[in-house]
């Protein structure tokens, strides 16, 4: 393995913004924007209805109410709010306000008022007469249901993804390799199992929020808590019907995203208010709105057929995923793909054939969106659970069965677009995790007395490092007069630390101190184009753009230096903050060069570079969990969760570790306690933190995370990604441990204490 020594890369620097954050400085949207019109949304109580009449007269009389908008007031161009590269795979199926409301929580009217009190008072006074329609609430019945969630004529898919609104079908597809049925028929054992995961909420601590105003040129200036400034500009341009040159979108610090803010969930509403009233407007979702009108994970049902030999050789995997996109199609066609493409390739080592088919359907439930893991989480729960069941059925240690079948360095992965695993330490992750965890001692089930047993489980995971052939990252690096640098990006640090790791890359490339790099981002007026921070791509794609920009800037610094030294550019080298003429050893400082760049100069002391990748190298991971399970109450207590991750070369090990720990705890939440249930109107019962219970620090046991390095040749400094893969192992590993403890395989998340207790024989 190629592994180099770096000065700044690979070291655990504090985040650039950490002291600002920890000392509570005003850095978030609501802190940095002035008071503005308060925007509130009146929402439909019905899952499927037509607004027949809407009377705003009484509401408009409330003192402080500035304006109220209904479906009659908005543009008629349909759009999608998914933050994706144009042409988006997500269908154009939304209006700012639609006469046809499609889920309980869909927007019916926009209220703009001087105060929150006035807006809420007005909301109560708006009278709406609905024609209530029958709704599609069970996603199993959605396909070809006579009730169409989107009957409109102007439904428009920008890309062909196999969907049609006439069948409630957002997308559909199948791909395969080899003779699936033939191999299945010749296997010693075939497991055919169906799994169900729910529409889990990102529950980032800062709810959705957006501020809009007209800037000094009369342009729409948007300050949004978003992962996708450029996509948001494009979305607003289409939705509002104004040119992109009239819109500026910037993000301040973001209070967490996890993909939720890869969708422009709330931006169109205040933007519309500002365009109509000319006044600054602000919309901050309540926690309830974030829960019921946000962009949660796609609910999926995954049927897996696994065929294997008695010796544990896994020969064939056949997956079919039914994905519930809810009332709108955002991210529907793409999330589903990962349920197969990022689970099946884990077994590249032995697979003779695979098939992956899917349908994504509309229902009259909250629309889903992007959530860390993006479909891979659902698929990996299914595939890893089946593999664990296979191991237990055959009586083979589940770590050994994986050793026998897993993808390894250099293998071509037919189920992963034919890409080669050019950097893969999954085998070493398994060995390392086994040793660290003490697998041999913890794997056997141990009776602790009083109904309590201890047991262990394991799972592997992979993800991508970008969307290959799509994502674009860019970086501008500028030299300042004192030899320090500015890095300007369009990627969005949402707490992950990308500003910091990208600055480390600049420092490494320019041979300067980390503190000498200032970072700015993201602002559509100032940043070079970047798809945004999603698909695990920032380290890998934007990082490579940073590397390229620095290489170009060095060339330019040398050219200016050469002018000062009176020689050709190829007669100098840049080293230790100076440019040296090779033949005379004369040097000029970066300060001299930077000042020279400001006088009678035609060579920019800055460089912008853009990167995109034909491949998306997967990071790999192994997670192991030890639980104590109370067979009588069903309570599952996590004792230890240990993981070893191969993210290539970690640029900042402390931040990579925290990413991993945070992802594991979110995964524990989905597995054990975060539930999503609906009433008969399709309204989620878990609409607040009182009901939607994310893990506290008493719910997650002890974590231990380590890394196995691999060197990804196409990544910056050998790096791959870390942000998403880390959420994928808890569900299958914990379900495995529960099965070890109770003999029951749970295939639906969350696995609540009630499900555990009531599934054990002899307990009704």
């Amino acid at each position: 393995m190629e592994e180099r020594t770096y000065k700044v890369v690979g070291k655990s620097f504090r985040k650039k913004d950490s002291m600002q954050l920890l000392l509570g400085k005003p850095v978030y949207m609501d802190d940095v924007t002035p008071n503005a019109l308060v925007v509130k949304i009146l929402r439909s109580p019905h899952p499927n209805a037509i607004v027949q009449e809407i009377n705003t007269k009484a509401a408009r009389l409330v003192p402080g109410v500035v304006d109220i908008f209904t479906w009659e007031d908005v543009p008629k161009t349909r759009f999608a709010i998914a933050g994706q590269t144009y042409p988006e795979p997500s269908p154009y199926d939304r209006l700012i306000l639609d006469r046809h409301v499609r889920f309980a929580g869909d927007a019916v009217a926009i209220i703009a008022a001087e105060t929150e009190k006035a807006a809420l008072k007005a909301m109560k006074l708006i009278k709406v007469k609905y024609e209530v329609l029958e709704a599609v609430l069970d996603y199993h019945t959605a396909l070809d249901n006579p009730i169409w969630v989107h009957p409109e004529e102007d439904w428009e898919p920008p890309c062909e993804v196999g969907g049609t609104n006439r069948r409630n079908l957002v997308a559909s597809g199948v791909d395969s390799d080899g003779d699936v049925e033939g191999v299945l028929a010749s296997c010693d054992i075939v497991l055919d199992r169906t799994f169900h995961t729910k529409a889990f909420n990102q529950a980032m601590m800062e709810p959705f929020g957006c501020f809009t105003q007209l800037d000094r040129y009369g342009r729409l200036h948007v300050i949004s808590s978003t992962q996708i400034v450029f996509h948001t500009r494009r979305i607003l341009s289409r939705a509002l019907g104004i040119p992109k040159s009239r819109i500026r979108v910037e993000k301040p610090r973001i209070g967490g995203g996890f993909g939720a803010k890869q969708t422009a969930v709330c931006d169109v509403y205040p933007a519309f208010v500002t365009m109509k009233t000319g006044r600054p407007a602000k919309l901050i979702y309540t926690r309830e709105e974030s829960q019921i009108a946000g962009s949660p994970r796609h609910e999926m049902e995954i049927r897996v057929r696994l065929g294997a030999n008695r010796d544990g050789k896994i020969r064939v995997l056949d997956l079919y995923t039914l994905s519930n996109s809810g009332a709108y199609g955002e991210h529907g066609p793409t999330t589903v793909g990962l349920s197969g493409h990022k689970s099946i390739p884990l077994y590249t080592g032995s697979l003779e054939a695979y098939r992956f088919g899917y349908d994504v359907v509309y229902t009259n439930l909250q629309a889903a969106g992007a959530y860390r893991g993006y479909g891979a989480t659902q698929g990996i729960f299914a595939v890893e659970s089946v593999v664990n069941e296979l191991a237990e059925t055959l009586g083979i240690d589940p770590t050994l069965i994986r050793d026998k079948n897993m993808v390894r360095q250099g293998m071509v992965m037919p189920a992963y677009y034919g890409e080669t695993a050019s950097a893969c330490a999954l085998d070493r992750c398994m060995a390392h995790c086994k040793e660290m965890f003490g697998w041999e001692e913890k794997y056997p089930v141990r009776d602790m007395g009083n109904g309590k047993v201890r047991a262990a489980g394991v799972a592997m995971a992979m993800q991508g490092s970008c969307i290959s052939n799509v994502d674009v990252g860019s970086a501008t690096v500028k030299l300042s007069e004192d030899g320090t640098y500015n890095l300007i990006i369009g990627a969005a640090d949402m707490g992950t630390g990308c500003d910091t790791i990208l600055a480390q890359m600049v420092a490494e490339m320019m041979d300067c101190s980390f503190d000498d790099v200032a970072v700015f981002g993201a602002d559509t007026d100032a940043s070079p184009y970047d798809s945004g921070s999603y698909a695990s791509s920032t380290t890998y794609i934007t990082g490579k753009a940073v590397e390229k920009a620095c290489t170009e800037l060095k060339t330019r610094i040398c050219a200016i230096g050469a002018e000062l030294l009176g020689c050709e550019p190829d007669a100098v080298v840049m080293e230790s903050g100076k440019v040296r003429r090779i033949d005379t050893d004369q040097t000029v400082s970066l300060t001299d060069i930077a000042y020279k760049a400001q006088v009678n100069n035609t060579i920019p002391a800055e460089a912008t570079a853009t990167h995109s990748s034909p491949v998306s190298p997967p990071p790999y991971m192994v997670g192991m969990v030890e639980i104590e399970l109370d067979k009588l109450t069903g309570l599952v207590t996590i004792l230890d969760y240990m993981a070893v991750v191969d993210c290539g070369i970690p640029i900042n090990p402390a931040l990579a570790r925290i990413q991993t720990e945070g992802g594991i705890v979110q995964g524990i939440g989905h597995t054990l306690m975060e539930n999503v249930t609906y009433d008969s109107h399709g309204r989620p019962a878990e609409r607040s933190f009182m009901q939607y219970k994310i893990p506290t620090r008493l719910d997650m046991g002890t974590l231990r995370v380590e890394f196995e390095h691999s060197y990804e040749p196409t990544g910056p400094f050998g790096a791959k990604s870390i942000g998403e893969i880390v959420i994928n192992t808890p569900a299958p590993a914990i379900a495995h441990a529960i099965a070890r403890a109770t003999g029951v395989w749970h295939r639906e998340l969350p696995i609540t204490p009630e499900k555990v207790a009531m599934s054990i024989d002899g307990q009704e």
């Binding site: 655990s12 504090r14 000392l23 509570g24 005003p26 601590m205 967490g256 707490g495 607040s688 009182m690």
Partner: protein, 151 residues
């Protein structure tokens, strides 16, 4: 109505409505560290100290603060600076939105119990939700601060 209170050590007189919530009252006075993360008294993001005790400012009428002392992170910068660097060293600040409430409650914890065990730290901070860090990094930060104090 008129209320008088000590805000971050300074006596202030202010006007508020009977239903003004302390959180909003504080943000209107520039205490932007105080965050709203839920409406159900569950997340701990709005934690401030009233007469030295940690409370949820989202769940108290500003009127009740009349005659009391309220401290926000704006007023406890030095006390916080003592230990938050150790959390930064872990990278556990992450998105930062939960940090002010978590830091305020940690201040309360350390005043009440200057040498807590890991379990005591977890129990005291259980009402401070964090969705980014997975909590262990925050714990390691506090632990390394405590270790540093022991020399």
């Amino acid at each position: 109505m008129d209320i008088k209170l000590k805000l971050n050590g300074k006596a202030i007189s202010a006007q508020c409505d009977a239903d003004t919530i302390l959180l909003d009252f504080l943000r209107e006075r520039g205490c932007y560290s105080v965050k709203r993360g839920c409406d159900t008294s569950n997340c701990g993001l709005c934690t401030v100290l009233m007469d030295g005790k940690p409370i949820l400012s989202c769940s108290m009428l500003a009127a009740r603060a009349d005659g009391h002392s309220i401290q926000t992170l704006e007023g406890l910068q030095e006390e916080a600076a003592d230990f938050v660097g150790f959390i930064a060293d872990q990278g556990a600040d992450q998105c930062g939105f939960c940090n002010p409430g978590f830091v305020m409650n940690t201040i309360a914890l350390l005043r009440e119990n200057p040498d807590p065990t890991d379990d005591e730290i977890r129990a005291y901070l259980a009402g401070n939700l964090c969705r980014c860090s997975g909590y262990d990094g925050q714990l390691r930060g506090i632990r390394s601060y405590l270790n540093s104090r022991k020399g």
